[in-house]
Each structure stands twice: as C-alpha cells, then as structure tokens.
Symmetry: D3
Subunit: 218 residues, 6 copies
C-alpha cells in the first residue's frame, strides 16, 4: 500500500513489537502478564513486568472516539490497540479503529492468526469476506451504524465506503497479535519475480510492472 | 439480580444455548461452522449447518447503536451478541452492548471462560477489576467516550455510572460463550445455606436473610 | 477473609509466584520445564532450570497427610501444591489439601483458570457449586470419605463442614496456576465504592459498612 | 498383562468409552457438557446430555476410600474415575485409585495424552519415571503416606511396592481420557513379529517366545 | 485460478469436506477419531466411526510417488492428503504432493489455519514467503532435491519452477484442514467490486477488468 | 539401544535442546519466533532471535535426499529436522528422515507430544502401531514407495524392513519437539530394578539380566 495507510498503520507495527497481532492464543498462566517494554527477552508472546508494578493504566487506551492519525488527508486510517495496551499481553485479544473516507477502501487483507468482528461506529460500509479454495464465495453486505459483522480466521476481507459520509468501525481480533497481510502489498510491495506475478494474475509482465510501479512510490 | 437486569439479560442466556459464553476456545477446523439452530446434537460448542446454506447474514447483527431492551425504565441493560450471530460459533469471540443509566451499576461479575475489553460508546463510567487472592487489588478508573479498558480472564469487574448521562459500552469477550456470573446472585439468588453465607460475609444470619429477601422478589 | 485463612492461604500465594494457579494450560514443548526459582525472566508461565540439574525431588512434595499450617487454631486451612513442586510448571495441574474444622467453611470462591475435582480424605462436608447466569442453580451434596466431586472451570463453589469431625480434602486443579478468588473478599476486602456494593447487594450502605468492617480487621 | 490387572483395569476401559483418558484437552465452551451415555453421536470427546437434566450426582463418584475390585486376591488394582463421573467430560481431568499389594507392581506404562500426579493414601511405594531419548534418566524415589509425585506427559512411569503393607494412591491426570499404554503389553500382548521383538530387545527369538507365552495365558 | 489447477485441486476440496484443512488443532480426546464419512453430524472437525470398525487402511494413503492427476498436460498439480486418510481427523496434520512443471508456478497462496513445511522430492524450485504488514519482506531461496523449507502460519508463499525439469514436493501442514486461499483467486475469481480492486491495486478499472476476464474463463 | 542408533540419533537430541520434540503446540503469537541459539533464556519452547536478523536460511534444511549419518555401516539411521531448522520454533511441526537397512528395524517407540505421519521415499517397510489399553490392537501394513501411514499421538509404533532393499521414510511430527521414547531403552537402558522388570515381563530375573547386558554395551 502506498502513502497514507503506510504512515498511519505504522502504529500497528510499532504496537505489535517483533511481528504484528491474533485470536486462539495460548491460555494465560497468571492473572495478567503486562508487557514489559523494557525487557530484552524474546519469546512466543511478550515478557511481563513485575506484577507489583502494574497499574490500572496498563489496561487502558484512549482515543477510539476520534479518527486515526492521518485520516484527515487520507482515504482511510487505522488506530491499533494491541500492546499499546500492555495489559492485553496473554489476554487473547486486540482491537483497532478503522476510518474510511467516502470513496475510500480498506483494501483486501487478512489476519493470519485471528478471527475478527467489527461494529460500525458511524457511517456506512460495504463489508465482506471471501471463502477459501475452491469456492471463493463472497459473503458481504452493507453495514450501517450499530451493525456488526464477523470474519472467520484467516479469510480475506475488505471495507468499501461507497457512501457520502465518513465511516468508522471498531474491530475486535481474537489474538493479541493477529498479524495483518494486505493482499495487494504481499503481491506487489514484496519483490516477487515479475513473471511469477504475471502467471499468477494470468496477465502479461507489462501489466504487472505497471501495477507494481505505483506500489513503489513512497 | 432482581427485576430489570433479569429481564434484559435473558437475551444473553437465550443466545448462549445450553449454558452461557468464553475466550481461548479450541481452534476452528474449517472456514466456519455456523450454528445450526435446528440440530439436536449436543457437543462441546455447537453443531454446524450445511456450509452450502451459509449466507452473509449468518455473520451479521444489527442494533448495537441503540440501548438494550428494557433499559428505558431500568438502570442498566444488556444486548448480547453470541449465537445471535450464528457465525460466531468456533470463532472464539462474542460481544455485548451494556447500558448503564445515571446512578446505575452493572454489578460485580466475571466471565468464567473469557477475558474482556470494553470501549465506551457514550457517557462515562467508573470501571474496574479486582485481582485474585491474596491481593484483592482494585485496578479501576473513570472511562469516557472512546476509552478502552481490559479485564483479565475470570476476574471480578464492574461498571458504575456515577455521572449524569446515560453510559453505553461495547464489550468484546474472548470466547463464543464466556459465561456470566453475577457475584451477588451466585451468593444470594442460589439457595446457599444461610449460616454458610453468614460465615462467608463475617456477619450474622439476620443480615444475610435481610439481603436475600430482596434477591427473591421477582 | 479475615485472620486464619489469610495466614494459612499465604502458602498458596507464595507458591504461585507472580499471580496464583489453573487447567487447560498451553501444551508442554519438552519433557519438563522445572521452575527455576532463581531466574529473573518473567513470561506467561515460569522460566525453567537447566534440565541437566533436574532431580527427582523437583517433582516431589510431602505432607498431604497432615492438616495445613494454622488449622489447629482456625476453622479451615489450605496447603497448596503448585510451584512448591517446581516440576509442575508446564504440566497443566496443581493441587491443594484443604482442611475444614467442624462448623467451618471454605467460603464461596472460584478459580479463574481451572476446573477442579476433590476427594474427601477424612470427615464429611457439604460441597457444591452454582451455575452461571441466569440459572444460578446450586448443584451440591454431602460428601464422605472416599467421595469425589467435580467443579467446572470458573464456577463458584464452597465447602461447609456441618458435621462434628474435622474434614480434609485433596483438590486437583486443571492449571499450574488456577488462581483463587474468594467472592466475599473480592467484594469487601477490595476498596469497591460503598454505594456500588449497596446497589449490588440490593441493600443499604449501612449494611455494607457493617459487613466491610469485619473484612478490614487484620 | 496377565490375569488380575486385566480383570480389574477393565473398569478403566469401560469408563473411557471409545478409547481410554488425558490433560491439555480443548477448553470447554459452556459451563458443563455432561456425558450423555445414551447418545450415538461420536466426536472428538463425548456428546452432552440436556443441561436442564443435569444433577449434582453427575459430578459425583464414591469409593476412593476402598481398594479397587479384585485387589484382595491380586497384586494390584485400579479404579478409574473418568466418565464414571459424566460431568468430567470437557473438564480436562480424570482420576484413578491404584492399589499395589506388598511385592506388587503397577508395571511401566505411560499416558499418551496426559501428565499425572499421584498422592499416597496409604503404605509406601517406589515411584519413578524415565526421561525420553537419549538420556533415559530414571527420576524416582520412595513415597510414603501424604507424599506427592508428578510425571510429565507421556513419560514411562511405574509403581513398586517393595514394602510389607498394601499401598494405595490417588492419581490425577490432565485429560478426561489420558489413555493407558502398558509397555510390556504393547510389546508382548500385541502380535508384533517375533524377530522384530528380538531385534528390539537385543536378544534371540527363543527368549521372546518364552516371554510372550506368559502374556497369552488368560 | 483457471483451468488446470482448478481441476486438479478439487481433490483437496473433496477431501476436506465442509470447508478445507490446519495445524494447532484442538488436542485429541481418544486414541483416534477416524472420520465417519457416512455420518450426518456436523461439528467443529469431523465425526468418528465406531473405533471397533477401524482398520489399518484408515491411516493409509498411496500414490505420493506419482504426480497428481492432470499434471501431465498442465503446469502444476496437487494431491491432497487430508481426510482421504480418514484417520488424520483429530491428529492435527495433513499433507499434499505438489507438482510444478518447468516454467510453472504454484501461485501465491496461504493456509488460514496452518503452518507448512515442504521437502523437494525431485527437481528444483524457487520457494518463498512474504512477512506480514508493514515489512512485506520476501524470504525465499532455490530448493533442490532433499531440501526442506518452512512457512509460518498464514503467510503468503509460492513455488516457481524456473528450471528445466519437473519439480515435485511433499508438503506437511499443521492442521487436519489448513484451508487454502489462492491470493489471485480471492481477488479476481470472487465477485469483488471492480473499483474496489482498482483502488486495491492502485490501478484503473480497465486493467482490473482485463485481468479478471482471464479468471472467468472455465 | 546399542551402538548405531545411539550415535546417529544423537542428532535429534542435540537438535531438540533441553529435552527432545511434539504436535498440538501452543499457537504462535507473531509471524515467527526463530530459535536464538545464543540466548540463555529457558522457557516452555525456545527463545527467539531479533526478527530483523532473520533470514531465509533460518527456515531451510538440506540433505533429506541422503541417508542419515552412520547408516552405511548400521542397520538404521535418523536425521532429525527440528531446531536444526531454527524457524520451526513455534510452528508446531518437526520432521525426520529415517533409514532402515534390509533386515533392520526402527524399534518400537512413541512420541510423548506428537502424532506422526510418514511417507516412504524408497524401499518397503512393515509399519504399524499398537492401540492403548486394554485392546493392544496392532494396526499395521506393508508400505511401499509413495505410501503414507499415520500414527496417533503417543501410540507405540515401529518400522521393520523385511525386504531386500534399503528403505527410507520422511516423517512429519505434530510438535516442534515431539520427544522420542524407545520402549526397549526405557525398560532396559534406564536403571529400573531387575525384579520390577521381571514382574513386568512375567519372566525371571535371569532373563532380565541377560537382556539388559546387551543394552549396556556401548
């Protein structure tokens, strides 16, 4: 993805530490294991701070009522709530606020380690997911304020604001680090061989190069 | 809990089928296993309908933008989103909208099979949880619109609207069936021996009977 | 809980390290990961000592045949076997011996991260659990020597020795760190607002303060 | 195993239904899923009865204070508590009382789906387990009344009563169906090729046949 | 994907029953739960046949030494081993043989419920995966006969036979039903709105329609 | 096990670090957690290296096309692929190549933490497993090149090459560290009491000592 999303979603990446975010995580083995941002220990999941030093604000995040940074000038935005809430470590959940401007999309993507549900906070979006091989069925519908939609683990889904008002959603993911794979980026921002992409998209290399050029502009 | 909550929260119980609701569920073994409400099969979790008959609306719920039923006349309300969204079966998540009128509380409770996060949709609440034995630390704070707070699996937590506006939250739970135990009800609505309760609360049986009388009024 | 239990159950807290104890833990990834009590590393679960230094006594505990400390003068006692057996780390289990003097109770409590079974070693107790909302059914019976009773994960349960002999039970929990929440303590030993408690128990603040006073005496 | 154990341990097999019993089971998705012994449904785990029909006795078992059947005339005995307690389905635990007469052994065995702890109810036993390849370390010790010993998932362990009093233990396993593999039976009661066994035991086929003859006598 | 792969990979879909295939599955609760292809019961996973009727061939599959059907005339082929081996139900694993002709690709795809490893049986391929947002790093290399490569759960990966000999791999997946999402198909074979795709690929709708036309030819 | 296997399988032990290897592992919480061989941290599983330092070769292994070391002069060999591929940490899988010379066996063994499937790369073997107590059924058959056979978690299984050509298999295990217990070694290489073994094998101590003598020769 070019520009805007890259700037904005960086929040997610910073939040998630050595990877990104997921559901169906291993069960917790204590009341809480609040992420110790000062620890150098790297394990499956995140190390914990001294439980005696834990305070209420370790479980707190503010700002879901406002659009994510950058979304004024962009067509979409993202505010991730994963280890921005250090207390979410071991709790098997993370969240994000997603904003999509009129005509904007949150492009097809999936979470390799989580299922997702989202509730519309304002506006209206066309929201759907695609089932796996060989059906590739599209299960989609228009959502309005107060509507909820669920997406199974790992399936490709997208948001499209084809209305005239800004749309905002609050998404819940079933892992502290579900991960995010933007399908377009996986194909075009990574240096896959051009002829591989041409064979994948059943097209010619020229078309591939034309598309790729746009992914490479900062 | 008497009256209002009982009427309103019945939604949750109906939704949850043969028990109530949880996080850290077993991983799914197919794209989806949409709850088949016509099946007589009883297993850990819920049986699935024919995947060819699955439609987008199996993953859809509407109405989170409005207070739960009964909350106009009551001090709190609850709209559960568990198997009201049949597609949530096997996805390891459920949700609820909680409304608390000014001066109202959602009384101390816990979810035996899930962690929880909640975002404030409107109003303001004092939200907290209590750590386990022997510390019984209270980790709590006032939340306002757009604030998020997380509660570890199985810990007692509560909401108190000590402001002057109605408050509404959207809660996310890490199981399709987290279960709900209202601590007051577990003590006083269930027929525990009076002297056991007196010893538990370090008080006399008269006090126990006086409290219990209120729990038994419909 | 005042006095006695507090002194005695401290064993459990010390045993469990940075939290307390549970079942359905993550699977082990090696033969054993014996708790290294000298390590400063804090993760979900506990760090392991060098496997070459592991000895049989790391899997051993002695004393379940005698009442827990303090129970001579008190009405109940508790000997926890969690990381007192360092080898239990990653094995998905912990244990406790519970003693209840005649007329004594082990008050309503639950384990946020485990199911439990208990066998009566001696004496007789009334043992039960309460189902979750909205049923709050009491499933209970008198147990005698050699009887076993099971409690589902996270449900409130209690012991009441209404006989004339001391009772002792050996409890098995489905986590290395199931956690213990004494329901009375969660309400009255933690600093919850008095009016919240009054609304919770459907009573007046005076009654709440009267009860709370007893929980605050050391 | 010949004779006695076969007769007695049949309890375990009957109890466990289509297989035998283990720890680290999938998490429960409702308060309880009490085994419905009348259902024809076969799934991973066991089907549940109508929760409205569940009673306290579904969680109850009696008789752990007495030796298992057959142990008067035999050198060892076994009383399994798995789905003899129908409520244990989905709770991630099972139990057994094991009796070993003086001079008797509970021969080397393991549980393919569970870790185990055992407490000595009476008498004294030599109890140990063997670590996995390539160390094959023996971690063992003599246990007396009130002693507890833990065995990691899937490792070979045994009991030897080399004292002069009957010994009894109460074992806890981390699965509702841990399974039991008696190592001697797996080698000699199953029809493995004789030359395979000879190569396995680094001995001649005559020795294999001599040993096997005893396993085949009823 | 057009033509060849569709015909050949149908094996996988048929094999996987009501969805497709995955790793990190729930633990088994009995020795085995062999898929009962005659059962009408639909649950998370698959129902089991009577264990007494289980035979060795329930755990057997033949033909991994030969290319998958259709691969003589096509550029790639696939032989899935999931519930073609009914005994794999509950075992947390599935497999596939993949054939790629010289110049052929197994296009970018991922498994929503499994990690994967693959060993090259013959020939040579360029094999890689792309990390998640925001890095989109390509980790790839040429593999030759006897080489093994691992792919984390849910990440996009691909095979490209840019040599002159047919290549064949044997893939192992960490679920009985990992699922398969061909990224190109999810975008172009499903009926996503054309302008959504144009915005996703940072291109014009004409390019989208040109690509899509090829995905729609049978 | 004497000589050859001991030398060769040492690879497995070195690979597996502080224990050996298994399936049904805890879910990953990031894209990857590549084993950091320089870390001193010991936890359930293995510590991770800096994700920025991860390269494609962390997921790579070479040499499955050739017999394991030592097998030229021996009757069997083993090449383990566990943390020899550091990227397998958290991926829930490991592998091994097994070679069995004509007349050779890979003796009865089991994996305490994994199910297994194996595909025959060349030659022919008699492959089977034994069900748990009380059935001890043998499910076995001859496998030829391209045949696959599956073994449930924790059950005793074996390979016997009773043909005239070398046989080679590629095994997949459902854990990064399944563990290996050679049943003969667990009985005879560990220092179990001789009379315990005699009672276990229903034979005399002389026979036990004769067998054990061969296990003790280096």
């Amino acid at each position: 993805m070019v520009g805007g999303l890259l700037l904005v979603v960086t929040l997610l990446a910073l939040a998630a530490g050595h990877g990104v975010v997921v559901a169906f995580d291993p069960n917790p083995l204590q009341d809480f294991c609040v992420y110790d941002t000062t620890s150098k220990v790297r394990v499956n999941g995140l190390p914990c701070k001294d439980p005696a030093a834990v305070v209420a604000d370790d479980f707190f995040f503010s700002g879901v009522d406002a659009p994510g940074r950058g979304t004024a000038s962009l067509r979409y935005g993202f505010t991730a709530l994963s280890v921005q809430i250090p207390g979410l470590n071991t709790l098997g959940a993370s969240h994000a606020r997603v904003d999509v401007a009129p005509g904007g999309v949150f492009p097809p993507h999936y979470h390799p380690r989580a299922s997702e549900t989202a509730v519309v906070l304002e506006g209206s979006v066309y929201f759907g997911f695609v089932t796996s091989y060989p059906d590739n069925r599209l299960l989609a519908r228009v959502l309005r304020r107060g509507d909820v939609f669920a997406v199974p683990q790992g399936l490709v889904h997208f948001l499209y604001n084809n209305g005239s008002e800004p749309a905002a959603l609050y998404a819940s993911l079933s892992s502290q680090n579900p991960g995010l794979v933007l399908v377009g980026d996986a194909l075009f921002a990574a240096p896959l061989p051009g002829d591989l992409l041409a064979k994948t998209l059943l097209t010619d290399e020229g078309t591939v190069h034309k598309i790729r050029a746009n992914f490479r502009r900062p």
